[in-house]
């Protein structure tokens, strides 16, 4: 009989810090034991349901979906769904528990929960945290009996079971005997469970560490939540029988109960909402057609035949696949945003569609660009379309609220994300538990690149920034192993940045809802699982760049009412000249060090160059060594050739280089005669192929079809090899085209309206690659003055001020550390009645916390009212606490030195307002022979130079050779200089480059490359200037 046992109480990592084995391992374990089913009962969550369902089915197990529910008062209760209706009830019950209580502390009020929700659900009395076991362990037998009667009434005699646990804890034997007796007395069933939290005993240390993270405990500290032993593993049926020796009937009862449960998920179902049609309209497909036709007339006047034919094709596919409602829904959302003046723009593969263009969702003319609709949507692929729309980040939530109002709050929720353990997060969490100090961990983590948690041991062996860091890495070996064991485990639930799920009915029939940070209601499934469940997802993304554009355009409009962002000329020479020099800090998508370097070499002269740029600086093209051929062909330094004449019309715009995913599809159509849908499938298979065998099979298919189309075998092979080398990293042209316009226009704003543009970029921080200090200096290099914080002039955001014929950007009050909305409003409200006449006047009119007041003083906010910051800081202390500093004679206090003020401003504002760090070291650097970046920029190729600055964005992109090359940007008071560090130098100085000092020196060779003739430095030596004492003596 033992072989029929089924675990009815098992936790996965989706119990968030209370499950220490992957679902894959639990399922494999149960299947390996020959158990016919397994129940998943995570704490207050069914987030693992979809993955569990798939894994169990694949392993031949019956998935039983349940949950360990927290009740009001903290008691636990295990619920199992008997069937799909039971699952829907579980979701509703969980939603009540989550939304009815405090965030992160779900608790169900059993008494007020509608009885019908307990139908089709089995209840088990739970672990020792269950009410009945809890009372029995305290020898409150009468109360335990009363509780059991209550549960029996709620769930019915056949629906409630007392749970006998195999956990080897003190008192378990007596507890199980008591529970079995109670079950017999009340006429309810008793089932044996293992209260599984991991697959085998070897996982216990990880579970203990996770418990310590959850309870904020160190390993050497005691906490009641920590388990006494490793007895919560997945037991075989034989081991369970041994542990439950006195209760064999509870074993068979568990198997019987499992036998009466059905799988609950239907992953084939479609649950898309119907779009509420306006009066008089009855068919969404017809209504969509009307809107598209009207849009086509707006875009083209009388649409030419090619447009009509293309729209007809797209609409036929959309109608055939039943997605008319979805397109209407997106069109409606975008239309609403536009009516409200909320800046928005469609992105991604949706721009491959002419329908989305005509509906105003995207701004890319797919037909004019020759973009393939099938990259976006095809009958063969039969996948849901994915339309992503960016909105001004500050107003994106207004759009989400509109969707919620329109479709009903019970049908709309945010998609969740699972925040998983990566190297850095695991190090911080587990290191703390294992007793490492915050300082030690910080020192280590700063040097750890963004890698998976199971790559730490390798990184410690191989990466010089760790190997040569001076950190005793051998002391961290246990920690690295623990991190590896938890790699990818979900730690907690987060909110997807833009994803909204919209159901065709109340979502609680499919997913529990809970509250995330800022009160957002999220479902318990992420974007992948949401789609598996048949729900439609709408990506309303918050893009800060659009906010910056909005601010900049509004400010420019105040001065120049005729200015129109929409009418920015697309061929502005000055803008392209600026791009060619790589001066793109702050420019959307073109500001990364790699993009700046590319711009300096590419010599962009029209929008298509920007489209190509966006696709070129990706891991694939860099790794595939496609950047150089592209630049050479673009510059006419290399002939443009094609492997076959049929490739020419497809690859002409990219100089014979395969750059876009759409081109792979087109080539498969033109060369091998694939249908568009087949070709996209080929692209996807090539993209995701994991083995050389798979690739060979696809290659054989492609070649046989190409040969049948009259292409020579050798050429067919060569074309396939070219595609295969490319497909895994291809970039969607539609997406690049959708972003390129914004990239160009922000470049135009930076070039012609730097004050308004950089003020807006500073206000919208954090965004982009660079810290605000670098943005501020970029503005300054463009002739814009950065105006200091001023209690009578600074606003909520960075503002443009005119000083004579120059423009300045006034630092915002919101930059002050700790300046929340309330104190900011208090300051601005008080100032509305008139400027502050003195610090004392300010103190009288605005009641601020002392620390914030001090920071305002130290950051220079009162400089125009009081000349001595240090003295004022003391005086304000006196104002706050009269008499405290009475013995200090104020007049005797000297003000801070300029360098002290710089340090204070950096720490309080994150900005150096009057000085750059290098200002203070320049005299010493000069004496030591260091040139400025500007001087290096002016040197010819091949010359050796020594320069110094603040290293920004050090990174090591993948390379084709696999050898490491580090790129970073060096910033001084004059500008930026790109530095390249090849493998040998990186091996020697890696410890300085990542997590190293704030000030570095470099010696190396100047290289000038490309059309822009932009200089960079190839480093031969890195110098640690961390302790720039007088004389700046390098340590290396």
């Amino acid at each position: 009989m033992t072989e029929d046992f089924v675990h009815l109480h098992a936790h996965s990592p989706f119990s968030f810090l209370d499950g220490a084995s992957r679902l894959e391992d639990l399922v494999a374990g149960a299947a390996g034991f020959g158990q016919p089913a397994l129940a998943l009962t995570d704490h207050d969550s069914v987030a693992g349901a979809v993955r569990f369902h798939r894994l169990a089915r694949a392993a031949g197990l019956k998935p039983i979906q349940g949950v360990e529910l927290t009740l009001e008062g903290g008691y636990h209760l295990v619920l199992l769904a008997r069937n799909p209706q039971g699952y829907a009830n579980l979701c509703s019950i969980l939603t009540r528990a989550h939304l009815g209580g405090e965030r992160r502390y779900p608790a169900l009020k059993l008494e007020t929960t509608p009885r019908e929700l307990f139908a089709d659900v089995y209840a088990l009395s739970g672990c020792r945290k269950g009410e009945i076991p809890h009372l029995l362990l305290r020898r409150q037998h009468g109360e335990a009996r009363q509780a059991a009667v209550r549960y029996r009434e709620l769930f019915g005699r056949g629906g409630f079971f007392l749970e006998l646990s195999a956990e080897p804890l003190p008192g378990t034997r007596a507890l199980n005997d008591d529970l079995a007796q109670l079950a017999e007395h009340l006429g309810v069933g008793a089932v044996a469970t293992g209260n599984v939290h991991y697959r085998d005993k070897s996982c216990f240390p990880l579970h203990d560490i996770l418990t310590c993270v959850r309870t904020a405990t160190r390993l050497d500290q005691v906490h009641p939540e920590r388990r006494l032993n490793a007895g919560n593993h997945l037991r075989s049926s034989e081991e369970m029988a041994l542990a439950m020796a006195g209760h064999p009937r509870a074993m068979t009862a568990a198997a019987r109960l499992a036998g009466s449960c059905e799988p609950v998920l239907d992953l084939e179902a479609r649950r898309h909402p119907r779009f509420p049609l306006p009066p008089g309209e009855e068919d969404p497909a017809i209504y969509l057609r009307k809107l598209v036709e009207a849009g086509a007339r707006r875009r083209y006047g009388e649409p030419p035949p090619a447009v009509v034919a293309r729209l007809e094709h797209e609409l036929a596919v959309i109608e055939h696949m039943g997605f008319a409602d979805y397109f209407l829904l997106v069109e409606d959302v975008v239309g609403h945003a536009r009516r409200q003046g909320i800046r928005c723009a469609g992105r991604g593969s949706a721009a491959d569609s002419l329908v989305t263009f005509c509906l105003g969702i995207t701004e890319v003319d797919a037909l004019a660009r020759g973009l393939l609709f099938e990259r976006f949507l095809s009958r063969e692929r039969a996948e849901k379309p994915d339309i992503d729309v960016d909105f001004d980040a500050r107003r994106r939530d207004e759009v989400a609220a509109y969707v919620s109002r329109k479709y009903g709050a019970d049908r709309v929720a945010a998609v969740c994300t699972y925040q998983t353990y990566q190297a850095r997060s695991a190090l911080r969490d587990f290191g703390k538990v294992m007793g490492f100090t915050a300082e030690d961990l910080d020192r280590l983590v700063r040097r750890v690149p963004r890698i998976r948690a199971d790559e730490l041991e390798r990184a410690a062996r191989e990466f010089p920034e760790l190997k040569h860091s001076g950190i005793p890495l051998e002391q961290f070996e246990e920690l690295f192993r623990a991190c590896a064991a938890a790699a990818g485990f979900p730690r907690h639930l987060g909110t997807h940045l833009g994803g909204l799920v919209i159901g065709d009915g109340p979502l609680t029939a499919i997913t529990p809802l809970q509250r995330a940070a800022k009160g957002v209601v999220v479902c318990q499934f992420d974007r992948e699982y949401v789609e598996d469940l048949g729900l439609i997802k709408l990506d309303l993304l918050a893009l800060r760049t659009l906010g910056a554009v909005e601010d900049a355009v509004r400010n420019i409009g105040r001065r120049d009412p005729d200015f129109s962002y929409e009418r920015i000329p697309v061929d502005d020479r000055d803008t392209y000249r600026m791009l060619n020099q790589g001066h793109t800090v702050g420019v959307f998508q073109l500001e990364s060090p790699a993009q700046r370097a590319l711009q300096g070499r590419l010599g962009a002269s029209h929008l298509e160059d920007i489209v190509a740029s966006l696709a070129l600086i990706r891991p694939g093209p860099i790794k595939g060594n496609m950047v150089e051929p592209f630049i050479a062909r673009r510059g006419g330094d290399e002939p443009v050739t094609y492997l076959h004449p049929r490739l020419e019309p497809i690859l002409r715009k990219t100089y014979g280089v395969v750059l876009f995913q759409e081109q792979v599809i087109e080539i498969a159509i033109a060369v091998a005669g694939f249908s568009p849908g087949e070709a996209d499938r080929l692209r996807r298979v090539m993209t995701h192929a994991r083995s050389s065998r798979e690739m060979e099979e696809i290659g054989a298919l492609f070649q046989s079809r190409a040969i049948a189309c009259g292409v020579e075998a050798a050429t067919a092979r060569a074309i396939f090899d070219c595609l295969a080398g490319y497909a895994s990293y291809g970039f969607c042209e539609a997406h690049a085209a959708a972003f390129a316009t914004t990239a160009y226009k922000t470049a135009y704003l930076a070039r012609h309206h730097p004050a308004e543009f950089y003020a807006a970029v500073l206000s919208l921080q954090p965004m982009g690659y660079y810290p605000p200090d670098t943005i501020g200096w970029e503005a300054r290099r463009r002739g814009v003055t950065l105006l200091p914080l001023d209690i009578n002039a600074s606003g909520r955001e960075f503002q443009v001020e005119t000083i004579g014929d120059r423009k300045g950007i006034r630092v915002a009050l919101s930059r002050v550390k700790g300046m929340g909305p309330a104190p900011l409003a208090a300051i601005l409200d008080a100032r509305a009645a008139g400027p502050f006449r003195s610090p004392a006047d300010f103190s009288r009119r605005v009641g601020l916390e002392r620390d914030l007041l001090r920071d305002l003083v130290l950051a220079g906010a009162f400089d125009r009212l009081h000349l001595n910051r240090r003295q004022l800081a003391w005086e304000l202390g006196e104002l706050a606490e009269p008499g405290l500093f009475a013995e200090v004679p104020a007049a005797a206090i000297p003000d801070y030195r300029e360098e002290d003020k710089y340090v204070l401003e950096q720490s309080i504002l994150g900005l150096g307002v009057r000085h750059h760090l290098l200002d203070f070291f320049r005299p010493a650097l000069r004496r030591a022979g260091y040139l400025t970046t500007l001087e290096v920029q002016g040197m010819p190729s091949g010359r050796r130079a020594r320069t110094a600055g603040r290293p920004l964005c050090p990174h090591r992109p993948p390379t084709r050779s696999g050898r490491t090359t580090v790129f970073l940007t060096l910033e001084d008071e004059h500008g930026l200089l790109d530095v390249t560090i090849f493998e040998g130098i990186y091996r020697q100085y890696g410890a300085l480059l990542f997590g190293g000092p704030e000030l570095l020196g470099f010696e190396g060779r100047v290289e000038r490359r490309g059309k822009g003739n932009v200089a960079c430095l190839v480093a031969g030596r890195v110098l640690d200037l961390a302790s720039p004492a007088p004389g700046l003596i390098p340590r290396h």
Binding site: P168, L169, P170, G171, T172, R173, A174, F204, P205, D208, L219, D220, L228, N229, A230, G231, L242, M434, E478
Partner: protein, 77 residues
């Protein structure tokens, strides 16, 4: 270090008798549990038994799973 004790076990490894005051005394297991101790400090798992001697005190014994040795943990007078 707790005092060592000789224990006779059944097939499951549970004690059925112990040497107590120079005699082999039958015991009845009242409860059993496991304890991993300070695993991070290299401590091994222990299996504890609360046993009752037919004529003698109630006591707690444990088997150290690393060494297989038995120790008396506690004696209730």
């Amino acid at each position: 270090m707790k005092p060592a004790i000789m224990v006779k076990c059944d097939q499951r490894g549970w004690p059925v008798a112990i040497r107590w005051r120079s005699r082999l005394a039958p015991v009845r297991v009242l409860d059993a549990w496991e304890d991993v101790g300070a695993w991070w400090a290299g401590e091994g798992e222990k299996v504890f038994f609360r046993v009752e001697l037919r004529s003698g005190p109630l006591m707690e014994l444990y088997r150290d799973t690393a060494t297989g040795g038995w120790q008396v943990y506690r004696v209730y007078d």
